[in-house]
Amino acid sequence: MTFVDGSVRVAYERIAKWLADAPKDMLASRQRHAELMFRRIGITFNVYGDKDASERLIPFDIIPRIILRSEWGRLEAGLTQRVNAINRFLADIYHGQEIVKAGILPAGIVESNPYFNKHMIGQKVPHGVYVHIAGIDVVRVDEDDFYVLEDNVRTPSGVSYMLENREVMMRLTPDLFASHRVAPVENYPDALLAALRSVTPTDKHDPVIALLTPGPFNSAYYEHSFLADKLGIELVEGRDLIVEDDTVFMRTTEGPRRVDVLYRRIDDDFIDPEVFNPISMLGVPGLMRAYKAGNITIANAVGTGIADDKAIYTYMPEIIEFYLGEKPLLKNVPTWRCREPDALKYVLENLGDLVVKEVNGSGGYGMLVGPHATAAQIAEFRVKLTEDPSNFIAQPTLSLSTCPTFFESGIGPRHVDLRPFVLSGADGVRIVPGGLTRVALKEGSLVVNSSQGGGTKDTWIVDDNNSNGHHANGTRLQSQSQSQS
């Protein structure tokens, strides 16, 4: 939040003053209060493979992350562009594959991709929308630019934290809100409902929407129930749904009721045992039949995984240019595709400086952070890379921006990323001003995933010219990546 010379960035001026003025134990007591509130409302997540702590709180930090409205405007335009391109890309990949014919994407990368879903070839989706909900992970590395780390276009989660973090902050620091004029995020459920309603497969009746969850043992179950509640739609499990005459029904106390739009939070592999994983107990036998018959909208569409695959990610700038004829507004992190021999050579020579990711890994698993890795870990990845290079990509370790973060021992800078949520309906793109800021709580750490000890912060989009006469557009902002010392 500071310039290279140590002076405070415009966006953080009032926060810095608040922190300086705060009585010594106030932050600690508010932090404890926040934790109690989260515990009481039950906003927990389950950690796989951790039997004792199966319901855990994600650590919450009460110092907000602040982004100026002008910066947000640029980010918003870039996100809209990116998601529009992704939707065009998916339609093309499952129909004409013009992008492959044009020689922009190697054919092999599509056909051999585990997320290229053959059941979707030639399949129409209602209103041509594939990705209704996207969570695009971005980071700041310098004053002007946001880089996209990852496009999450299967079943992105975290939006409940965006909303609950705000509620808790409004109760804990009303004085800060009064002085900041923070753009509201509370209309997200309304925007999501509008987007889902817009993609109903039939206009013959008012659409019935349901949220399909794997159930209470899923790590994101809290979020599923939270969203269903806010949207006023039924939270269904696979066993609540039946398919008859290629139409989906839910079992209600009044008998079967038709469902038109299914906001599913179950992976493709598990949604229909007739077509995919035959032993899945989570899915709905016959769902794909109903989908193919055009009787149900599945959000996100089946087969979107190919668009957030890390191998495809490296082609996103070309994908945007190909479909939209525009220069990408958001940059990709420079990436070496290890499938290419030159890149592999470079990566193997510089393992200690790079972040190596499995193409299909998620949640921060299967990842090597070179500068923080032991010699043994580097050696292990060297073997993996040599054996199956196309399964990996590598990126430089970025100097991610930091944000002041509270600890019992004081306040210190920690690395943050941001996941804004992008909604696409038949009527266009909606983005609520904000997102989920994740923070790496370990000093120097770059891993922000909640399953790996990351925490969250509230994210504030604030007016530029509301801060003591400074105008952000007129001020050349300097690197945000420095510590606030």
Binding site: R40, G42, L235, T253
Partner: protein
Amino acid sequence: MLARTADNLYWLSRYMERADFLARIVQATQRLASLPIDYSQPGQGTEWESALEASGAAEGFLETGAPVDEEHVVDYLTFSVENPASIRNCIEYARSNARSVRTALTSEMWEAINGAWFELKRFESVNIGRGQFDREELTRFLDFVKKTSLDFDGCAYRTMLRNDAYWFTRLGVYLERADNTARLLDVKYHVLLPESEVVGGSLDYFQWTAILRAVSAHTAYHWVYRQSIKPWLVADLLILKIEMPRSLIACYDNIVYFLDAIGRAYGIQGSSQRHARTVMERLQAASTREIFQSGLHEFITTFVEDNSRLSEAISTQYLVI
């Protein structure tokens, strides 16, 4: 609403109601068991055996092979993980039902049940590894359980929309409550029979008051009858007095009402409504004299069977479709 949601709500409130009843049974039994030895019920086994019978846990307890004494029975009814109907498991199941239907609960109800669960974990951690039976801690725990079900019930009453979700919640409460009251009467029926007054003399007074305490009706009795405690009046109060919230007839008054509400909202009546009305009519037509003449035990046994038949009818009509 989803059939599964209705099922979860129905069982959630059954478990909460059952936890409350178990707490009351344990407390009433402690009182009886601390009386001088010759005050105990004649020829009917110990008070702790009765407690096991009344809470439907006798068979399961036998299998553990533990001696039927205060320490073991109390543990089985309160903190036991093995007993599927221990207080601990009731709260555990109630919360897991609540977690599955978060969207159907108001935030107040969720916080009540979730808060109770955390408190239960605290009690458990104190209880585990403490070699010795601690009556004071037990009292705190039982008071907490009673308070929890009041809290949950109050939250439901004050915050829920009056729609089918609420009606299924209430059905769970009253089905369970009717079952509990009937079981208690069934275990204690012999002390309520007129002839036992001759046999046991006034010593049975403590048995009668224990029954009343177990259903929190000790004070109510005096307000309703304005006379000293007579066994047939205890039976009258718990079976036929509609103003007594735990009487069988009051439970069925509510059950009929909430089933009718569901029937009206859905525009269709079914076997649940018919069955509930039949039971209610039988209760309305009954008198204490007749019940005693044709046999209190038989009357109660028939009622318990009818009540569980109603539960099955509700399940097949609405919950497991």
